[in-house]
């Protein structure tokens, strides 16, 4: 884990409010799929880091790739960065996906801006020939941009869904998996809370292990402030109470361990 300035390599617009950012940072050498970094806007008025999940780490080039949605001051500032400038980064942070748990028919379910970290996961799991990779990626609409969908199709079987039916399966990611005649051996998922609740329910109904990557408002990103907790079903060993830190014990949790 480092806290250091990183050089901006490129910023590209992929959709209406969707941007791709590439940074040069030694954090790329340590990062595993599902981890995130805190990116700091260069502003005396907006001091907190923004947690952004790592889409892909290229350790040999020390390059980190991020895809984010422009929603507020921080992400708007990131979308305007010029190549050659610098921004502060803390990371890599969090636990990442448990790669060793992958077996058989792996279903990777992504929704919206939860899709990007699953690309690094898919790339890593593709190295294991014994796994069959199945992706279901949910977008708002074709107009908002089907970011990364082409990258994913090179990794395995890839289905797209849109809320408005403008591309692929009309409906949600969980509607789509329920329409299939296959039961996964394991699920990895990242997306908005209502989607993760639906994935958790699907996994429970079918007795499938699911790992969910969660999001919560954060201040420190390193487990100190206890701002970003999620309710847990049992007593969390670190906190001693029914709360786990999304930034430290997570962001990836066994779906049975968390109350969503």
């Amino acid at each position: 884990m480092i806290h250091k300035a990183a050089e901006v390599l490129s910023v590209n617009r992929l959709g209406e409010d969707i941007f791709e950012l590439r940074l040069l940072s030694p954090a790329a050498k340590e990062a595993t799929p599902g981890q995130f970094v805190m990116l700091f806007p260069d502003s005396p008025a907006y001091l907190l880091g923004r947690p952004v999940s790592i889409c892909e780490a290229l350790p040999e080039k020390e390059e980190l790739r991020f895809i984010f949605r422009r929603v507020g001051f921080g992400t708007a500032a990131f979308s305007r960065l010029s190549p050659g400038t610098e921004l502060f980064l803390t990371g890599p942070l969090g636990n990442g996906f448990p790669l060793k748990e992958a077996r058989g028919k792996v279903f990777i379910l992504g929704g919206g801006i939860g899709i990007p970290p699953l690309f690094g996961l898919g790339k890593e799991l593709k190295k294991d020939d014994s796994l069959s990779l199945n992706f279901i990626l949910g977008y708002r609409s074709k107009a908002e941009g089907l970011f990364l969908s082409e990258d994913f199709s090179s990794l395995g079987d890839c289905r797209l869904t849109t809320d408005d039916g403008s591309e692929g399966f009309p409906g949600t990611v969980t509607d789509c998996i329920r329409s299939l005649d296959i039961i996964p051996d394991i699920i990895f998922s990242c997306g908005p809370l209502p989607m993760l609740r639906a994935v958790k329910q699907y996994a429970a109904e079918h007795g499938v292990k699911a790992y969910l990557s969660l999001e919560e408002k954060m201040a420190c990103g390193v487990g100190a402030c206890l701002g970003c907790v999620v309710k847990t079903t049992g007593t969390d060993p670190h906190s001693g109470v029914h709360n786990a830190r999304v930034c430290a014990e997570g962001p990836v949790f066994d779906s049975e361990m968390v109350v969503l």
Binding site: M1, I2, H3, F40, P44, A45, Y46, L47, L48, G49, T90, E216, K217, M218, A219, C220, G221, V222, G223, A224, C225, L226, G227, C228, V229, V230, H238, S239, G240, V241, H242, N243, A248
Partner: protein, 303 residues
């Protein structure tokens, strides 16, 4: 040039420099061990600890505001036994003073923690948190009423042999009244300010930004308010004051020292720069060299 003295004395103990973290912003130091040098600050202040584990508040617990943030963590902590076994054990390997922040729902709970910590040699000071605005029972109730503050200070004075710092709330009409109340019943030092109660509304969701509705405001936004209160309190009591509220660099720290603070704490800014305490210590030394000042104590309380 002769050796610069950055050390200050607090309740009979020497701090190698007057810079520490504010409680709750740095865990017990453990969480930041790989990002900064924990031996460098004059002291480390732990997150509040109570006799039994506390769940804290629902999320969202934090939200950013202009030059600051609101938090309503609700003093989540693993309880005293885990704290001693894990966090305090970790701090045994750190070469600096340790200040343990103590919280409770009732006088008896505060007393239980203070009494148990008497046995722990690693604890140099207790900081009594009677000013957290985010816990319904206890905490701030003791810190906003001079009568109750006197009562709890007196009770804890009888239970602890450690130097006792009372952390004051700014959410009162006259903070010097509370400062004098704590001093009169045996407080060894005062720390201020805790956060200012505030609110933010998410207009898109038409909801409070924090699940607790209100939270404590910290960060540079509160610095002038904090400085004024540190000045007022330093001039109203004889015991030393630890100043905090939006400190980001050596210049900010010097304002608090000149206003009368014996030491200063960095809070929210540590989330922006984990090395902030080190940067401030180095900035203070650079300033002393520039000003040809050999002892930091020479500027404390000059105004």
């Amino acid at each position: 040039m002769k050796q610069l003295n950055t050390s200050v004395e607090l309740c009979g103990l020497t701090l190698k420099n007057p810079v520490m973290n504010a409680s709750g912003t740095f865990g017990s130091g453990m969480e930041y061990a790989s990002l900064t040098d924990l031996d460098r600050p004059g002291a480390l202040v732990t997150k509040g600890v109570s006799s039994s584990p506390w769940e804290g508040n629902p999320t969202p617990r934090v939200v950013e505001t202009p030059s600051g943030m609101l938090n309503a963590i609700g003093l989540q902590n693993p309880g005293l036994e885990v704290f001693i076994r894990r966090d305090l054990a970790f701090l045994s390997g750190v070469d600096t003073r340790v200040i343990v922040n103590v919280c409770g729902h009732s006088e008896a709970e505060y007393e239980e923690v203070a009494e148990r910590l008497n046995e722990e040699d690693r604890v140099d000071f207790l900081e009594i948190n009677v000013s957290c605005p985010n816990v319904k029972e206890g905490a701030i109730a003791f810190g906003t009423d001079p009568g109750r503050l006197k009562s709890i200070t007196k009770a804890l004075r009888a239970k602890t042999g450690k130097p006792m710092i009372i952390k004051l709330s700014p959410n009162v009409t006259d903070i010097t009244e509370l400062a004098k109340a704590a001093e009169s019943e045996g407080a060894d030092a005062l720390s201020l300010i805790n956060t200012l109660t505030g609110m933010k509304i998410d207009i898109e969701k038409r909801k409070f930004a924090l699940a607790n509705r209100t939270g404590g405001l910290s960060g540079p936004a509160i610095r002038p308010v904090a400085l004024r209160m540190v000045y007022d309190v330093s001039h109203a009591v004889k015991i030393p004051v630890i100043g905090m509220g939006g400190i980001t660099n050596a210049a900010d720290a010097l304002e608090f020292l000149m206003a009368g603070a014996r030491a200063v704490a960095v809070g929210m800014y540590l989330f922006h720069d984990p090395d902030a305490m080190i940067h401030i210590i180095e900035g203070l030394t650079a300033w002393m060299e520039k000003e040809k000042l050999s002892d930091i104590n020479e500027i404390i309380g000059i105004l």
